[in-house]
Assembly symmetry: C2
Homo-oligomer: 232 residues x 2
Amino acid sequence: MPDSAFGEIRDLPLFAAMTDANFAALVRGAYVQTFPAQIELIAEGDPSDFLHIVLSGSVDLFASWNGRETSLATVRPISTFILAATVRDAPYLMSARTLEKSRIALIPSQDVRAVFDIDANFARAVVTELAQCYRSVVKAQKDLKLRTSLERLANYLLRQQRRAGGAVSFELEHEKRRLASVLGMTPENLSRAFKGLQPYGLAVDGARVTITDQAELLRFARPSPLIDDAAT
Amino acid sequence: MPDSAFGEIRDLPLFAAMTDANFAALVRGAYVQTFPAQIELIAEGDPSDFLHIVLSGSVDLFASWNGRETSLATVRPISTFILAATVRDAPYLMSARTLEKSRIALIPSQDVRAVFDIDANFARAVVTELAQCYRSVVKAQKDLKLRTSLERLANYLLRQQRRAGGAVSFELEHEKRRLASVLGMTPENLSRAFKGLQPYGLAVDGARVTITDQAELLRFARPSPLIDDAAT
DNA sequence: ACGTGGCCTTGACATTTATCAATCGGAGGG
DNA sequence: CCCTCCGATTGATAAATGTCAAGGCCACGT
């Protein structure tokens, strides 16, 4: 294991507070690999053999049932996924695939659990990370159950605008078909939803979105920090 | 603080492995209180002052937005709620109200965080609990996005049947209006959904549900351990 | 330059779900 | 015992969302 490859994750909140020795134990059996786009990294139901960390690129977490499929989240650098399955030594609840060419670090789950048992700082960091993940899913749940598809799209766009630095105009970062799945609707409906937001100050051209009337869109979307703020 | 009042939570997985001294520190500022039904214990957006533990009765976790409201989960004895908010010292994402007369233990959040910082066993227990909570929400998310309301009801009933010991006939444990909210539909639709399941081996009389054709209902519901098993 | 394939869009239609209004029926109080 | 209230149900209707089929657009490779 070249140490250099793990330098970039050493400072992650998850690993920052642990001892060098324990970090070394963690990465001893780990490796970093580059995957092309559209590769399925894990499948739901599989045993959780590795904790995954996205170093570059992006990963789609999705789930299937009865022939249907839905995207649940996108993982961006630098963060982990399926931490909960690793901790509980339980099967993955979601599948994961690369959205683009991505570098992924894989740490054997048993090593994570072993170090977790002996390094209190690491255990605390895991708690913080998990609590964060939990709250994200709860927010997604509220988004889904309390809002219509038009409202979800409007709030999604406002969140994206913030991610893009607040500019009036920005590019969508996902394929629209996947965005539709994330938002819990069909691609056809997403097209109509974009049109449906035009009266509320939105213009779309391909992947470029322009918020022509911020106040009006805000009035329609009614974003709430308890649903839309990533930080809290 | 009468020690007796906390004996029943001492053996919870969350507290079992911690030292007596730390447990004492945890319950020093804690208290137990009995609330009548329909009391709002916490409101979403409030700072997380206390970790709550349901000792008896039951508690509804719900959320509101823009005049709408939805139930997200039910907490039964003996378990905690809003652990994630406590850990992160962040505002509650959900409101909570008693569904019936309930005894609740309240532990000051700052004490939880303080003990969490010095007791590795407690920290590990919190991780396990949080990972469990996280996986529950993910399952709920999959249920919501991958299934129609009829399918959600069918699978809910099969889960309830298992909870009730597997008997062919059992009582619903929630008001139907609340069950509708949990399942993400209106009460009117829930009524129709019950009727819609009759051809698949279901009979309903008030709160009593009878599965007249288990095989047929299973064939329709197609339960999956990755959505419907509480344990995994 | 020209196909070609994939994704997006559009329209027509079907299905699902919500809304509104009215009624039913059981639990509890006078 | 009857009345009243509240939740559950039902029917009619509207709105939201999904499905199917067709066509447009753009990027890609030959």
